[in-house]
Symmetry: C2
Subunit: 217 residues, 2 copies
Amino acid sequence: MVKQERAARTRHALIQAAAAVFAEEGFVTASLSTISRRAGVSNGALHFHFANKSMLADAVEAQAAEVVRGITEAARARQGDSLQAVVDATHELMGALAHDVVVRGGFELAGDCARRGEASLRTQWQSWVEDSFRRAERNGALAEGVSWADSARVIVAATAGFEVLGGGDTSWLSRQNVTRFWEVILPRLAGRRDLERLLSAGSRPSAPASAVERPGL
Amino acid sequence: MVKQERAARTRHALIQAAAAVFAEEGFVTASLSTISRRAGVSNGALHFHFANKSMLADAVEAQAAEVVRGITEAARARQGDSLQAVVDATHELMGALAHDVVVRGGFELAGDCARRGEASLRTQWQSWVEDSFRRAERNGALAEGVSWADSARVIVAATAGFEVLGGGDTSWLSRQNVTRFWEVILPRLAGRRDLERLLSAGSRPSAPASAVERPGL
């Protein structure tokens, strides 16, 4: 049991270190010895857990996907099919990109030339946003003349933009930036019935980014 | 003179080939021999023109920056301080990202971990968009309650999103996608006086992407 705990801790440290190195250097340049040194473990321990760099990258992306799933599921559980779920999820996702190295590393990998075609994180987010706007449209929560597809297009593009621009300047990921964005966008997307109730700053504005649920450790 | 022409042609072929290889493989993986082979020139000829890979990347970015400058200057020359200039320029920029390998390669380099901090192309575009909305605000062309900064934030984020998502799926760069985007956004950003006159599809909807002016060759 103690041994298993130690193994889980080593695996966790390796994934965190790998995510940080992938985010800083990209997949191709990242070296396994930089990663093991950063994790404070031996090269042998790294190879015990991960046969190669690709498997380490897969683990980072899988863990990031879990965090994104946690964010979207929690937002929907709290807010149902209201647009507030999308507003909340964008705030939490941008917070995770700013403060959770695994999420940042996962998205960097998804956009990396060397790993293209495996961009499942962006696809996962896009699918959820589209599904959310489809539900909102069905419930009459969208403004007249605006379709779920149009709404999703705007939100998917803008959040992808925040993600990549935030890699160079984290103010793009700030709650203030995302709030101002929604203040501009919501009056165009939300039906009149809902607009007054919707909170551009998110329904949990004071939740620290670190409070985002994390799977595993 | 004939010799100079030949040299200019070789340089041009090298920049085109380098842009394509950088776009496909990223800066780190791209090899000089792949680039010279693709350009149909010898390694010696490559080294005559470019001392190393960084200088080749600089040349790609510089040429992409010229194309972007051509797009923004032409849009402003035609449309002045109207929001139509921004609409037109986004269409032309997305067309260039889809069809001009130097522009695609230049933006890929701007987003590449290995060359970060030199993201001048995105900065150049952002500055122009901000300046354009500042002018529009000064002329009373923005909707009430919407500032130039808010407007620029939405457009800069969405176009960065189109750019990166378009790397995997070019439909994000299509005229149809950009038109639908503006159809959603313009009623929120444009003042009533101008809204009816503005064309979401751009004022030159039939201009082929290849008609975008190119500096040099």
